[in-house]
Symmetry: C2
Subunit: 299 residues, 2 copies
């Protein structure tokens, strides 16, 4: 009986409609959703214009999405929700590599490459040699670990955003051997703005926030019997490390990208001179319980 829906009864009125819902989890989610949504409305006391603006904002956010653009993920990212979901799903007291957001630019099916190969397909940018190991919690190498790598160009664009770049530029998948080592050639990534011509960009501007992310290389590292990790390796010294638009930075993921001016070393590594090197060791923990699939599986 909800013929007298008002500010005092609204939450209960909506929730009592769910008595026939057979999905216990859904019912639990709806209790939290409706309770917080109504509480927020009562706190904010939106005018009709403000509420209509919210409806229109959400509508435009959905309508800007296509097969290459996911504005609701950007909204989730810039409100800190993606990183919060990530934190909740990675509570662990271990030496494992910390995770961070997947972001909207992962592409499934990047080329399978040999260790040492280059992921740049246009050669543009400052040469980078990136290397390290995939280890277990005891420090032993993990053989057969898959590294799915992607990053921006030297000027801060992913291939899918940039018609000037070849397809699958700066993307690759590598499998470790018995030594657990990985190494590949690339170019130094740049800090860059998240797409800011949509609703999220408008929101950031209204909030006096910049849309920049500090430079990083994305990795999804997985291995049979281990929990996979979706993370970034960040470039130390980047001016946006303390104000990442999507809250993705963790201290443990920042590494020096060291500049070298050494023609002989450059030639040995198959790089132009000068060049940069960066090293990061990934640590995976064993999958002792059934794990959720990585966010990537949905992208």
């Amino acid at each position: 009986m909800t013929r007298d829906f008002n500010e005092l009864t609204s939450t209960a009125a909506v929730l009592e409609r769910n008595v026939n819902c057979r999905d216990v989890r859904l019912r639990e989610i709806m209790i939290s959703l409706v309770t917080h949504l109504h509480a927020m409305i009562k706190e904010v006391e939106p005018t009709f214009e403000e509420w209509a603006f919210a409806i229109d904002f959400l509508t435009r956010t959905g309508q800007i999405c296509d097969d290459k653009r996911q504005e609701f993920i950007l909204l989730s990212d810039t409100l800190g929700v993606s990183m919060l979901v990530d934190a909740i799903n990675h509570r662990r007291n271990s030496a494992a590599t910390e995770s961070t957001v997947l972001g909207p630019f992962h592409v499934s099916g990047a080329p399978h490459l040999q260790m040492g190969d280059s992921i740049t397909r246009d050669g543009k940018g400052e040469p980078l040699y990136m290397s390290g190991r995939v280890l277990n919690e005891s420090g032993a190498p993990i053989a057969g670990a898959l590294l799915d790598v992607w990053q921006t160009s030297w000027d801060g664009f992913y291939d899918v955003q940039d018609d000037r770049q070849p397809e699958m530029n700066l993307r690759g998948q590598f499998v470790t051997g018995n030594d657990g080592r990985y190494f590949f050639r690339s170019v130094k990534p740049a800090s860059y703005p998240i797409p800011s011509d949509g609703t999220v960009g408008t929101m950031l501007t209204a909030l006096g926030r910049h849309p920049m992310r500090p430079a990083h290389v994305h990795f999804i590292v997985s291995a049979p019997g281990y929990q996979s990790v979706t993370t970034h390796v960040f470039v130390d010294g980047d001016p946006y490390l303390d104000s990442d638009a999507v809250f993705g930075v963790k201290e443990s993921l920042i590494v020096p990208f060291v500049r070298h001016d050494d023609s002989a070393a450059a030639e040995r590594l198959g790089l132009g001179n000068p060049f940069f090197t960066a090293e990061y060791d990934f640590v995976l923990v064993q999958a002792t319980v059934p794990q959720p699939a990585p966010f990537a599986a949905k992208a």
Copy 2:
């Protein structure tokens, strides 16, 4: 400094980014939004799959919207949010007609008709004679009041949903004379499902809820110097009065739709026999302070 974003710091980390926001109201809204959104995430502890589902649900909700369909308004309606916003914006201790949701089917620019005219353009359904007055709080008639009326067909569809109906079927605008009276001919509206082939329909099914609304006639009543009211007049006895999918029913808005079998009266009113009559007097309160435009202004 947000290099250590976690479950304890997330809300503060996101909010501290808004220090440069110059819009005090927006900052206030964001505090409430981010606080409740993060609190909900911490309560629900969504898996990545669940969060990805939410992203996809919102995206699909935006993408189903077009110039005739507004799925986010339906979502707001079915979660009781629209009626809550309405309640907050219509706190009054007066005899004024209670308001209810605008709904997604209002169309601007309905035909201007003379009192007594019919709003049915295809004549299908059980004849209805609807009448009453527009009064002020003292019970005096309001001259020059505009009634914007719309309703479903006999079988529960608005013209904009139904290719079989003529354009502007069952829509009209009427202006009262000095007696404040209104009267027009129509057909008896039907209870009907809100559009259920989109994300909102899927949600209602998952929650074990039906998508039905009890039969009603929509009105926006406005007059110079008065607060306008967006409301419905509901058909007493409708089986869905206690479970309106959008929580729009208020006891004071339910009136009898009385059946008559009287050929002479029918002829006098210009209706087929048998026919229904319904009466409702609207009461408007004076606009003492600047009022927000009715929701209709945005539709």
